[in-house]
Symmetry: C2
Subunit: 292 residues, 2 copies
């Protein structure tokens, strides 16, 4: 028997259709999770062929808003950035909910989302692990990028594992043309998702252009990447050790004809402890139903 | 200003959702082609990220049913098989048309489609050019396939360019595991779309399993391929020189978890001249609107 449920394809980190990063969102809010198998969910994600397809289910804990299952065409993911923002947007449209806080159950636990002015949706990071990696190793990645870093690169594990490189300015980041074949091989050998490359905009405070080269998962360039932006701001705090709450504006995707805008925040609490927040706008581009 | 128009994502060569080959179909039947640029159409096809996105426009000649523009994420195509079948299905649903013949304007001219029992949609090939290619050359492709052909392979130019290899039986075709990296390199060097490999089912008359390895366009395996099936039946007629009209049943996609069924026909007219027809069922999986 086939089920017909609400479906949206939402463009994330933009308010202009086709300028952000899409996620397909299937509403299973009115069916039980028992009615659909993991294999079916995976097959739907293979079929849509976009980087992530998500499924909204009723939450296990009724004080939360929904449970989200996130699938890449290759496998289920515990968490992903732009799919979380896009799925929250879709949830609010599906249900008519108007809230400033949304609690999402997913593979990394409960993710808290904040909605500002009914428009900007931000998530707080559950996990940002910073790891060193050896200089020789860093050098081989720098060679495939063809640009020089200005600080010591680090490995960021935020679910996906990104190597973060900071270059002198945003023009260098924008104009970088890596050797994609070698980059993919190196990432796969090391089990990394890819490389985040960022540079500060000249004469702008806390504004950066970033690129996300995701060769480890067979994507030359991710147009606008939430987990990449999260890794990048976590890295910035490792380098600059901000003493007060600092908003960071990030642009991404210009080289692949997108115009992504990410509003990130390094929040320092009264005890001086940081938390990391990544958000942006989202716009529903395809709206209708899907047959399961 | 943004336009909102009808949208469907149709699964082709199956009647079961997620078991065929998807195409995204945008109805521009109620807008003028001047209202949208080629660049916009291309950007939409990049964003959907499926193998083809099509746009239905009003026909230039009112005796035809529609004009179809077909885009892969990389470029506009003059013709494509499964997108033609899926777009015809969508056209009939969008307009409520119930006809046994549909005339599609596209880059290769006017394509005639036949609809049987309101279900099976077939197109007649406009172009099937058979070319020899040298034995040494054929051998290097056979090496990347890792299987032996039972007849001399040919190059089929049906818009896309497919090398067609016939193996002893359908099990060999089903179980073939090519070296995808080498296959892609060889196809790109020679400007071929890829390889169609087919084998006859044991104890079945005119029933075949085929595979479509599309390394030339960065696709390891096309799940269910209209132009591939067309190339394959054109090749069969080159080998077997059918003297009367012969239906050919083709299955495809089992190795990538699909269950594609293609109904092909080599039609021999009163003068003994063949024409080539490829068709199948299609099912609308996503149905709604898209913002342009």
């Amino acid at each position: 028997m086939s089920l017909k449920v609400p479906f949206k394809q939402v463009d994330v980190f933009t308010n202009k259709p086709f300028k952000g990063n899409p996620v397909a969102v299937v509403s299973c809010l009115d069916i039980s999770e028992d009615e659909i198998t993991t294999e079916q969910l995976q097959n739907i994600a293979i079929w849509t062929n976009i980087s992530e397809t998500t499924f909204l289910f009723k939450p296990k804990d009724p004080s939360h808003d929904y449970k989200l299952r996130i699938f890449a065409p290759t496998n289920e993911l515990p968490f992903a950035g732009h799919p979380t923002v896009g799925s929250c947007k879709a949830f609010m449209e599906f249900t008519g909910a108007k809230k400033s806080k949304i609690y999402q159950e997913c593979g990394v636990g409960v993710v808290e989302l904040s909605i500002k002015d009914d428009e900007v949706i931000s998530f707080e990071a559950n996990q940002t692990i910073v790891e060193d990696f050896n200089k020789e190793h860093a050098r081989s990645f720098e060679n495939v990028l063809g640009v020089q870093t200005i600080t010591e690169p680090k490995l960021l594990n935020v679910g996906p594992k990104w190597l973060v490189y900071l270059v002198d300015n945003s023009d260098i980041a924008y104009n970088t043309d890596p050797n994609y074949g070698n980059l993919a091989s190196l990432c796969k050998e090391n089990n990394y998702t890819g490389i985040i490359l960022g540079g500060k905009k000249v004469n702008k405070e806390n504004e950066y252009e970033i690129r996300a080269f995701a060769g480890g998962v067979n994507v030359d360039e991710d147009p606008v990447c939430g987990s990449g932006a999260l890794s990048f701001i976590r890295y910035l705090n490792e380098v600059y050790k901000y003493s007060s709450t600092t908003p960071i504006k990030i642009t991404q995707g210009g080289r692949v004809n997108r115009d992504g805008r990410i509003e990130a925040l390094i929040k320092i609490n009264a005890e001086g402890q940081p938390s990391y927040h990544v958000g942006g706008q989202a716009v529903t581009v395809v709206d209708g139903h899907i047959i399961l």
